[in-house]
């Protein structure tokens, strides 16, 4: 194994291949506080890419309820258990990643779901342990709270799917860091399914090959955000490029959220893949749970989010989420207005910090009719 640098862990780690960062890296920020689990993202993806035979239970995008929702079944808790205790120290992770914990003969610590593990996409949906006002029916570790976790492929800097494939059928594009699975080369060994800790590679029983999220690269190459982003009802998502950890630019919206303000955090960074989908953690969830999912920066991120009414730059930038189909390369704020610009520095969107409010009288005096609030 080679030694590579993982900024999310604050240290070097072992990986199957030497460090080779792409020229630019696809990245995304999801605001979990705004997700309502309407699954519009899931269907936008499914109708676009996975409506074929053998793809029936293939959800490149899914939204699950935490803590008791999983797709596939137990995808995270099983690996967390296998990996053992994970402890952070002063913002760094000295424990073992899945590459460092690989068993003999393996390239990463992993497990492979069976077909039954894919049969309940809605498992645990909206589950908490009971009505607060009625008292809990049972005692469980996570009482009376839940949140929605939308998930796509993380297009990791150190993908375990790529490392696990003995045929080199999975590659990471040097131009945008998108991780793709070559459908002409795959022979269906399912090593990638086993290796990916996020279980975002799916086996297609009809073609005998594995398939995964492609970050809607035909759109992304045109400067457009993927389908699951632009169809999001709650406007929780922003896609773009993240700079190298040592070349941060505050005018890049993803950099600002991830590196400058540190309000958006990677999912299970301790696995060691340097995932590139970043989550603004839910503000109402107990801190230990957030630590396990998002690492040691969770408390500060929650505090920053709670302070949004007093934080014009951050609040303004969050207003750009879901505001345009274009990829926003840079952003700027002027007064109450936040502007987004494309690669060519053309303004593609402008949003106010607060939407103007218009109050109309209940009676339309000119027409002598009462106004209603029907949508």
């Amino acid at each position: 194994m080679a030694r590579v640098y993982n900024w999310q862990l604050g240290r070097e780690m072992s990986y199957w291949y030497p460090e080779s960062r792409p020229k630019r890296q696809f990245a995304a920020v999801f605001d979990t506080n705004k997700c309502i689990a309407c699954q519009t993202c899931t269907l936008a993806c499914k109708t676009t890419w996975t409506s074929g035979k053998g793809q029936e239970y293939m959800l490149w995008n899914n939204v699950e309820t935490k803590p008791y929702g999983f797709y596939p079944m137990a995808w995270d808790v099983k690996l967390l258990n296998d990996l053992g205790a994970q402890t952070w120290q002063s913002g760094a992770y000295p424990g073992r990643t899945i590459f460092e914990a690989a068993r003999p003969g393996e390239r990463a610590l992993g497990w492979r779901p069976t077909d039954l593990d894919y049969t309940n996409p809605n498992l645990g949906e909206d589950d908490c342990t009971g009505r607060i006002d009625a008292g809990a029916l049972m005692q469980l570790p996570h009482m009376s709270w839940f949140f929605y976790l939308a998930r796509i492929c993380n297009h990791c800097t150190y993908p375990a799917c790529l490392a696990s494939c003995p045929r080199g059928s999975i590659y990471k594009r040097s131009d945008d860091g998108i991780v793709l699975l070559d459908q002409s080369r795959c022979r269906g060994y399912q090593e990638c399914v086993k290796g990916c800790p996020y279980k975002k590679v799916y086996f297609n029983p009809m073609t005998g090959t594995s398939e995964k999220c492609i970050a809607c690269f035909p759109k992304f190459e045109m400067g457009l955000q993927p389908q699951c982003f632009v169809n999001c009802i709650g406007k929780i998502r922003l896609a773009g490029f993240i700079s190298r950890h040592d070349q941060v630019r505050a005018d890049n919206p993803i950099d600002y959220l991830v590196h400058v303000r540190k309000i958006a955090l990677p999912l299970f960074p301790q696995f060691g893949l340097e995932p590139n989908v970043y989550y603004i953690p839910p503000v109402h969830v107990p801190s230990p749970f957030l630590h396990q999912l998002f690492g040691p920066g969770a408390d500060a991120a929650v505090a920053a989010y709670r302070n949004l009414p007093n934080d014009t730059p951050l609040a303004g930038l969050l207003g750009l989420f879901g505001s345009t189909e274009q990829v926003i390369a840079t952003w700027r704020q002027q007064g109450d207005m936040t502007m987004g610009y494309d690669e060519g520095k053309r303004e593609v969107v402008r949003t106010p910090l607060r939407e103007p409010v218009h109050i109309r009288a209940a009676l339309d005096a000119a027409r002598l009719v009462m106004r209603t609030n029907c949508p």
Binding site: E56, R112, D115, Y189, V193
Partner: protein, 287 residues
């Protein structure tokens, strides 16, 4: 009965009795001996196999390159070979308590393969999939392909009988059934098929010809000329693979062949397999 046929019965009777003896217990040989017959058997149940010498090859773990197989499964494979001078038929028999022929998530299919050096000569490539500039040729059979060739349908319900499907967009009423427009749209949702990946079917034979020049380099041969037929038997599989004779396999000559077995129920696929090193493949002399 004519005088002639009576003569034949009397004279050849002892010889047939001897053959009968051999059929019950064909010779066990330390190498694979390809006996010559005018017609090649294509079915493992063909009686032509009954007097073909048997070579029993112990199987080794593939534990040299990751991902490795760390726990042994199938202990050995019994091999017979018959050639017609142009092609060679191998019959592989091995024990396997379970039938694994459903290629679903988290499950794998039983399979076997025959490997020969691509070029003749005493300096053979490494038996582990060959090596750079010294390729090997492989013919691969798998139980899931055999099931399709034997009649299993090409729908999700043939694999998951309880599955329900709401709708496929290419089966919308607006598209004429089996029209080119419909097939074109279906291919859009089956990228491996659209790209001609031989793994993706649909299949007309249960075998595939491949070439490799080292671990991780396996790729389909330009064409698959080989044929095969696998049958489930009482204690395992019996599979015939018919392929062209290896380069330089002259009568009386000695070449190399290797075998691999995948036990699907043991999560074996790709490099996770039981395999042999090179085994001598000897052709009968003078034929």
């Amino acid at each position: 009965m004519t005088t002639k046929s009576l003569f034949a019965f009397v004279v050849l009777g002892p010889a047939f009795a001897g053959l009968g003896c051999r059929a019950a217990a064909p010779p066990v040989t330390p190498e694979v001996i390809a006996v010559t017959r005018q017609t090649l058997p294509t079915d493992p149940a063909d009686r032509a196999w009954e007097d073909a010498p048997i070579h029993e090859s112990p199987l080794l773990l593939q534990d040299l390159v990751e991902p490795r197989l760390m726990a042994a499964s199938t202990p050995s494979v019994r091999v017979r070979a018959i050639t017609d001078g142009t092609r060679v038929a191998f019959r592989l028999d091995w024990s396997d308590a379970t039938v694994d022929d459903r290629p679903v998530a988290g499950a794998f299919t039983d399979a076997c393969a025959v490997q020969v050096p691509a070029a003749a000569g005493p300096d053979v490539p490494a038996p582990q999939m060959g090596e750079a500039s010294r390729p090997v040729e492989i013919t691969y059979w798998r139980a899931s392909w055999q099931a399709v060739v034997d009649g299993r349908g090409d729908t999700i319900n043939d694999i998951h009988p309880g599955a329900t499907v709401d709708h496929y967009p290419f089966e919308a009423a607006s598209l004429e059934d089996k029209s080119s427009a419909q097939q074109e749209m279906a291919l859009r949702y089956a990228p491996a098929r659209a790209l001609g990946n031989a793994m993706a079917g649909p299949r007309d034979r249960p075998v595939e010809d491949l070439v490799a020049d080292g671990p991780g380099t396996l790729k389909p041969a330009a064409t698959t000329d080989s044929t095969g037929r696998g049958r489930r038997v009482a204690d395992g599989w019996s599979v015939v693979i018919v392929r062209r004779l290896p380069a330089g396999a002259q009568p009386g000559g000695r070449g190399q062949v290797a075998f691999a077995i995948w036990e699907g129920g043991h999560q074996e696929a790709g490099s996770r397999k039981m395999r042999t090193g090179w085994v001598i493949l000897a052709r009968e002399a003078g034929k």
